[in-house]
């Protein structure tokens, strides 16, 4: 996957992961892909809902050693 930008939100608590993700997404253009790393346990539900509401698509997510990783394509 061609990732255009990476947001490292590891260790950050709510609402920082989505605030950082939003900021990074604003700098991308439609079709580009953002990768987000987070450790906040609410991040999965938060980012899934956030992406859907903003018209972005969550392409993939996985968990690796306690780190939640997301790939979101800008809508």
């Amino acid at each position: 996957m061609n990732v255009d930008k990476l947001v490292d939100a590891k260790g950050l608590a709510c609402p920082m992961p989505i605030v950082r993700t939003k900021k990074a997404m604003d700098g991308l253009s439609s079709g580009q892909i953002l990768e987000v790393h987070a450790t906040d346990k609410g991040a999965k539900n938060d980012l899934t809902a956030w992406a859907a509401s903003g018209g972005h698509s969550l392409l993939k997510h996985e968990e690796e050693a306690g780190v939640l990783k997301f790939w979101i394509q800008k809508g």
Binding site: A13, P15, M16, I18, V19, K22, S53, G54
Partner: protein, 159 residues
């Protein structure tokens, strides 16, 4: 009118924890690309106070209010387990431990995210608070301005 969704929060409470909840929702809503307004009234106005003492002319009752109310977000008390000021010290330690944001940091982030911070002028008069004592960039309005935002709003909260 913009096509953006709006979130309108009335912050009535002057409690640290309740104000934290209000500001977390507000910052989240801004990340959701909403136009966000926090309308501060009564004790919620204290979240907008500058932390230093500002020399302004006041009557006796207003002076007493100013002394007894917390000067700024950092000095607000908890709604539960305040323990005469020891509770907020503990919660700030826990906030740091979990890498969460303190109330003053949340207020700062709200300003960075262009959240509209409004002070209710009628309650400012009641509590004897003057514009000079509140943060720069705060807007001043009354119930009609709040209703204009809220009647077309998507999220409305009273905290």
């Amino acid at each position: 009118m913009s096509e953006k969704k709006t979130t309108n929060i009335i912050l009535f409470s002057g409690d640290y924890d309740k104000a934290m909840a209000a500001y977390i929702i507000a910052n989240g809503a801004a990340a959701y690309d909403h136009d966000v307004t926090i309308f501060h009234t009564f004790w919620g106005l204290n979240a907008l106070r500058k932390d230093e003492q500002i020399p302004v002319q006041k009557g006796f009752v207003e002076k007493v209010f100013s002394k007894m109310m917390p000067r700024g977000a950092d000095k607000m008390a908890l709604s539960k387990m305040n323990f005469a000021g020891f509770g907020p010290k503990m919660i700030k330690g826990v906030i740091k431990k979990h890498n969460a944001m303190t109330l003053p940091q949340l207020v700062e982030m709200a300003q960075e995210q262009d959240i509209k911070l409004v002070a209710c002028t009628m309650t400012m008069d009641l509590l004897g608070l003057q514009k000079e004592e509140l943060l720069d960039g705060v807007e001043y309005a009354g119930v009609a301005a709040y209703l204009a935002d809220a009647e077309n709003g998507n999220v409305n909260l009273f905290i």
